[in-house]
Symmetry: C2
Subunit: 628 residues, 2 copies
C-alpha cells in the first residue's frame, strides 16, 4: 500500500503527514504561503482552509476555530490552518481557498485568462510563387494573390501602401515569399523567404495610473514578457477629469497627451522586444484596452465631451488603425487594434473584464466588479447584461486618506484587531516597518473596527470602545491608532481618522449604489448573485470578507467570489490571440445595456442607505446582521 | 424668307455668303483657323473641307483642287477652302474636318472626353443626427452610422483614423453634419454643418516629360482649372530607363524620385486651388495615370525590375491610398487613386487612352496608338483586345535629330515642297522665324521629300532630285535644306540630314512593327481597321496624311483617323468622375492581352520591312502605291 499523504489543493503539492503538526506548518515546509496575521493564535481567521477528505485523521476543531469560523462553517470542513493538527497518519486532502493564499496576489497581477482557440488577427503564410518569365508576364500582385488564394482558400487584397514590398519579396529569395495576413483578408506584409517562425503581438492595458504591456508569441499564444510603466500622462493630471480638462484648456493638449502615451507605449514595446531579442518591426499587432477616455486620447479622438452630460463616447466600435498612423514603433503596416467601448465610463477595459470573467456565458446570475477611481460593474448572465460606472474616487488607491499610500513597501495591507484587548496585528508589504496604509489595509482596518464595535454602523469611532488606541486626535476628531510611532518607519503614530472612514464610506457607498441599481434593473437582490468576479489590482488585494463586512461587495458566501486579477490585460491578450474573441467583444459591447446612475430616480436614496456600514437595510447583509 | 447663310460645321459659326470670296477667307473673317501652308495656291491640300449642302451655290472645283484632292474625293464634296469660291448667294453647309482645323491642337491638348454618368468616388451626404441626451446615450459612431445607413441605403464604416472628427463634427453645428463617403462604403470625413457645396478632385497625368493636372468640381463634372509642369524627375534622367537606372545606382534614389514628383504634384494642386480660391484641404481625391514606371515610382514601388526581362510590373490592380500616406497636400484622409496597369510598358496611361477612345465598345476593328518614347498600341474591338509597347525612342520629340527641337516657338511644324520647283513652304509655331524642327515638322518634311521623289523608298536622299536644296553636307552625307540661313533665327541653314531620316525610319519602323504584329494577332490586315484613335500630343500635332505616307500609321482613309488628344488625362478625369469607369478600367486591364514584341518570332523581319518608306510590302500601303 502507498504511503499516506497530505495533499494541498488546488496547488497540487504533497507531503507525508506528521503527527502533531499544524496544516500551516506543513504548508510552510512545502513553500505554500497561507495568510496568517494573528501569530497562529486562531483569532484572525485569515488561514481558513477546507479539509475535503481524511478529516478523521485530524484532531477535532479547537474552541478558537469554532469561535472564529462559526459552527456552521466547521461542519462543512472549514478549519484554521494554524490550529488544525494531524492526529494520525492517513490520506488528507486540504483545499486552500484563493483568499487564504498569500501568493495569489502575484499570480493575479497578470490576470486570469480564459482558454481561447488560437486564431490571431495576424498570421503568416508561406508561398512558392511561379517566377515571371517571358511566357508568364503577369504582374507581381496578380501572381501573388492567385497563389495566396489557392493556399488560404480565401480572396485577400494588398493593403494600400504594401505594394512596394512586392518586387523584393518575390525576387529576393527566389520566388519564395512569406505574406502576413490581417484577419485573413488584407495582406499587410510580403517578405522574401520563410519568416513564418516570427509572429509576435503586444497586448496593452492603458490604465489611468499604470500601463502594462505583454509580449506574446502568436504561434503558441505564450506570454514571453511583461513590462509596465506609470501612465506618462500623470504629470498632466492625476485622474481622468483633470486630463480631459487639460485638453480643453490647452489647444495643443490633446496632441501632447496622445504624444506621451504613444511614447510610453513605444518604450514598453522596445523593452519587451529587447528582453527577447526580437526587432520591434517583428511586432505585427498591438491590442489596446483602457477606459473610454484613455482609449479616445490614445487614438487622438477628442475626449472633452466625456466630461459633461450626457457623456456619450465618440466611438463604441472596435478600431484597427495602422501602427504608422499612430506612430507606434512596431511593423509600420501592422495594426493597432482596440476592444470596443460600451459607454463614456464603461470602456474597452470593462469589456475586457467581461471577456476574462466569462460572465456572458453563465447560466446563473453573476456580477463583475472592477474597482478603481471609476468602478465598472457588469451584471447579468448569458441572456441579459447591464452595466454602470460608479464614481468611487481614488480613496482605495490611498488618496484623500491621512496616512494613505499606494500598495508599496511598508504599506499596511492586512489588519487584525483582538476583540478583547483591541491589540492590533498588522501585515505590511515586504514585511517592512509600517509607513502608511494602502487600500486593502484601510478596508481591513474598518472591517475590524466594525467587528470589534469600535466603529458604529454610521461610521462613528466610539472612543470609549477601543482601549487607548481609540482617542481624540489633534484636530479634535476621533481616530484609531494602527501602529505606534516607535514601530513605524515614519516616527509618528499611524492612525485611521474619522475623516478617512468617511472617505471610505463615500467610496464604498458609490460602489454599492451601483450594485443595488444593477440588481434592481435585473429585478433581483444582491444575495441572489451566484458569482462575483472581482477584477483589478485592488479587487485582488482586498480581503473579500472585509469588503463584504463594510458593505462594499454584495453579501454572498465567500466561495462565490472569484478573483480574476488584472482582467483588462487578460481580455486584451485573449483578443490578441483570437479574432473570435474580438467578434464576441463587439457583440457584447452592443448587447450590454448601459445605465447612467446619475439619471436614476432612486440614486440619492440608495446612496444614502449605502453610506452605513455595511448598509442601512441589513436585510441586504444577512451575514453582517447575524454576526452582530 | 430668312437670309441665306454659310455655316461652318461642327464649329457652328455662320456668315452671309459673299460672291467671289473663298471659303478660307470667310472662315478667317469668322475667326475659324483653317490649315493652309502653300499660300492659297491650292497645292498643299491642308485646307481640305467638305461642302455638305449648297454645293450648287459654289464655283466648280479648280484644276488644282482636282489635282491635289483627286477626282474621287471631289465627287464626295471635298474642296480646298483656299480655292472654293461662292458663285451665288444661298445656304451652304461646310464641314471642316478635325485635321484641317488649325485650332484643334489646342482643343485636343486637354484631350477628348467621352461622356460618363457623374458618380465620383467621393460624395458628400448631409445628415441631421439625433443629439446625445441622458435618454439616448449612444456613442457618436453608432449614432452617425445609423442615420447614414438610413439616408444612403447602404452600410458604411468609418475610415481608421477619422473617428477623431466625430465629437466636433456632431456638436460643432448643432448635430448637423456632412460626411464624405468614398465609394459609398467608407466615411473619410465628418464635418460640422453643411459643406456639400464643395466636392473637388484632381486628375493627374504623370508623363515622363510633363505632368498635367486638372481641378474638377465633382458636383458638376466641370474642369475648373488646368496646370502643368515639366516632370521634376527630368534632372535624374531624361527617359524612363535612365531614371530606373538612377534608382538602382543610388540607395536613396527611389525615395528621391518619389519625393520630387510628390512635391511637383503638390505644386500643381496648390496652383489649381489658388486659381479657384479653394483650400487644398477641399481636394478629396486625386486620380493618377502614368506609364508603369511613373506609376510605380509615384507610389514608392520599386521599378528596377521593369528595366530587365521579363519586365513584369509589381502592380497591375488599381490602387487607392490615403493622401497623407503619400504626403499629398490635399485632404489628409482623402484618396490618391490610380488606374490599373496592363504590363511593364503598357501602363495606366494606356488604359486611360483606351477608356477615352471607346475602342473597347466598338463592334468593328479599331486601334489606339499613343506615340511617345514608348508607343502604346491597343487593337481590337469589344470582343478582344491586344496590346503592345514599341520602343519608338525620342526622335519625335526632337531628340537625336540634327535640328530637332521640342514643339516650341520657332519650331518648323508644317512643310510643303513644290513638286516641280522643290521650293519649300514652312509653318512654324507662333509664325516665328525658323529655329529648328519639331516632330510633326520632320514627319511632314520626310513625307514631302518622299512625295516629290527627293527621297527613295529606302530613305536615301537623291541629290540630283531636289534642286539646290538637296546637297552633300559638311560630313559628306546628303541633306535637304528646309530653310536658308538668312530666313532663320539661328543664322545657319536648317536641314534634314540623311542621319535624321534614318532616326525617323527606326522610330516609325518600331511603331509599324507593333501595328503589324497586333494585326497578325487579330489575324487581319492594317487596311481592315475601321478606326485609328491617335492619342497623345505628337499624335495630335502630326499630319495624319504625312504619317501614313511615311508608313507610321496604317494606311486607312483619313476620315477613319480620330484624334483624341491627351487621352491619358481624359481617362483620368473620366475615372475621377465615375466609379463605373474605374471598374471598367479594372476589367479592361485584365481583359487586354499583352504581347511582348521582342519575344515575337517575326519581330526582326517585320521591323526590317517597316524600315522602308512607307514599307517594303506595298500591299500594306495601297494609297502610297497608287500615288506612285
Amino acid at each position: 500500500m502507498a504511503r499516506p499523504l497530505v495533499q494541498f489543493q488546488p496547488l497540487g503539492r504533497k507531503t507525508e503527514p506528521r503527527k502533531g503538526m499544524t496544516l500551516l506548518e506543513m504548508a510552510g515546509d512545502l513553500g505554500i504561503a497561507i495568510e496568517s496575521v494573528c501569530g497562529s493564535t486562531g483569532k484572525c481567521g485569515k488561514c481558513k482552509v477546507f479539509v475535503r477528505s481524511g478529516g478523521d485523521f485530524m484532531a477535532p476543531p479547537t474552541e478558537s476555530e469554532l469561535r472564529t469560523l462559526g459552527g456552521q462553517a466547521v461542519k462543512t470542513g472549514a478549519r484554521l490552518a494554524c490550529q488544525a493538527r494531524i492526529k494520525t497518519s492517513g490520506n488528507i486532502v486540504v483545499e486552500v481557498p484563493q483568499e487564504s493564499q498569500r501568493g495569489h496576489h502575484r499570480l493575479l497581477a497578470t490576470g486570469i485568462e480564459r482558454k481561447v482557440k488560437l486564431h490571431p488577427g495576424v498570421r503568416k503564410v508561406l508561398l512558392k510563387i511561379p517566377p515571371a518569365t517571358m511566357k508568364d508576364l503577369r504582374a507581381d500582385d496578380d501572381r501573388l494573390l492567385e497563389v495566396l488564394q489557392k493556399k488560404a482558400k480565401k480572396a485577400a487584397y494588398l493593403s494600400p501602401g504594401t505594394h512596394g514590398h512586392l518586387p523584393d519579396a518575390l525576387r529576393g529569395k527566389n520566388w519564395v515569399t512569406t505574406v502576413t495576413l490581417f484577419r485573413d483578408l488584407e495582406v499587410i506584409r510580403a517578405e522574401p523567404g520563410d519568416t513564418t517562425d516570427s509572429v509576435h503581438g503586444v497586448a496593452v492595458d492603458i490604465g489611468t495610473t499604470k500601463v502594462v504591456a505583454y509580449l506574446l508569441d502568436l504561434r503558441s499564444g505564450e506570454v514571453l514578457a511583461t513590462e509596465s510603466i506609470p501612465n506618462p500622462q500623470i504629470p498632466f493630471g492625476e485622474d481622468l477629469m483633470s486630463r480631459i480638462s487639460y485638453t480643453k484648456r490647452n489647444p495643443d493638449g490633446m496632441r501632447k497627451l496622445q504624444g506621451v502615451i504613444v511614447d510610453g507605449l513605444n518604450t514598453l514595446i522596445s523593452r519587451l522586444c529587447e528582453s527577447k531579442a526580437i526587432r520591434t518591426d517583428e511586432v505585427l499587432e498591438v491590442m489596446i484596452v483602457g477606459n473610454t477616455a484613455m482609449h479616445h486620447i490614445f487614438f487622438g479622438i477628442p475626449a472633452y465631451h466625456l466630461a459633461a452630460a450626457p457623456y456619450a463616447p465618440a466611438v463604441r466600435t472596435s478600431l484597427s488603425v495602422s501602427t504608422s498612423h499612430l506612430g507606434i514603433d512596431a511593423y509600420p503596416f501592422g495594426k493597432v487594434s482596440s476592444l470596443p467601448n460600451i459607454a463614456g465610463f464603461v470602456g474597452a477595459d470593462a469589456v475586457s473584464d467581461l471577456l476574462a470573467s466569462g460572465l456572458y456565458e453563465d447560466d446563473k446570475l453573476g456580477m463583475m466588479i472592477d474597482i478603481g477611481t471609476n468602478t465598472e460593474i457588469i451584471a447579468g448572465n448569458r441572456r441579459r447584461l447591464v452595466s454602470c460606472s460608479c464614481a468611487s474616487g481614488p480613496a482605495f488607491e490611498g488618496a484623500h486618506i491621512g496616512f494613505g499610500m499606494r500598495a508599496a513597501t511598508g504599506a499596511i495591507e492586512r489588519v487584525w484587531i483582538d476583540p478583547s484587548t483591541h491589540e492590533v496585528t498588522l501585515r505590511t508589504i515586504d514585511d517592512a516597518p509600517p509607513k502608511g496604509i494602502c487600500g486593502s489595509g484601510i478596508v481591513d482596518a474598518i472591517a475590524e473596527l466594525l467587528k470589534t464595535g469600535v466603529l458604529d454602523p454610521s461610521g462613528r469611532i466610539r472612543i470609549g470602545e477601543g482601549g487607548k488606541r481609540a482617542r481624540k486626535g489633534k484636530d479634535g476628531h476621533a481616530e484609531f491608532v494602527l501602529a505606534w510611532a516607535r514601530d513605524t518607519s515614519v516616527s509618528q503614530d499611524i492612525v485611521v481618522s474619522q475623516k478617512d472612514i468617511q472617505e471610505i464610506q463615500l467610496a464604498k457607498a458609490a460602489i454599492f449604489t451601483g450594485v443595488s441599481i444593477m440588481m434592481k434593473k435585473l429585478k433581483t437582490e444582491p444575495s441572489t448573485l451566484n458569482r462575483v468576479y472581482a477584477a483589478g489590482a485592488f479587487g485582488t488585494y482586498v480581503d473579500a470578507g472585509a469588503a463584504i463586512r463594510i458593505g462594499m461587495y454584495p453579501d454572498v458566501p465567500q466561495e462565490r467570489i472569484k478573483f480574476i486579477g488584472n482582467a483588462a490585460g487578460s481580455g486584451a491578450r485573449m483578443c490578441l490571440k483570437s479574432v473570435e474573441m474580438r467578434d464576441l467583444a463587439e457583440k457584447l459591447s452592443r448587447k450590454v445595456e448601459y445605465v447612467e446612475l446619475a439619471a436614476e430616480r432612486d440614486f440619492q436614496e440608495e446612496f444614502a442607505k449605502a453610506m452605513f456600514l455595511p448598509h442601512r437595510d441589513l436585510s441586504r447583509f444577512p451575514s453582517a446582521a447575524s454576526n452582530r
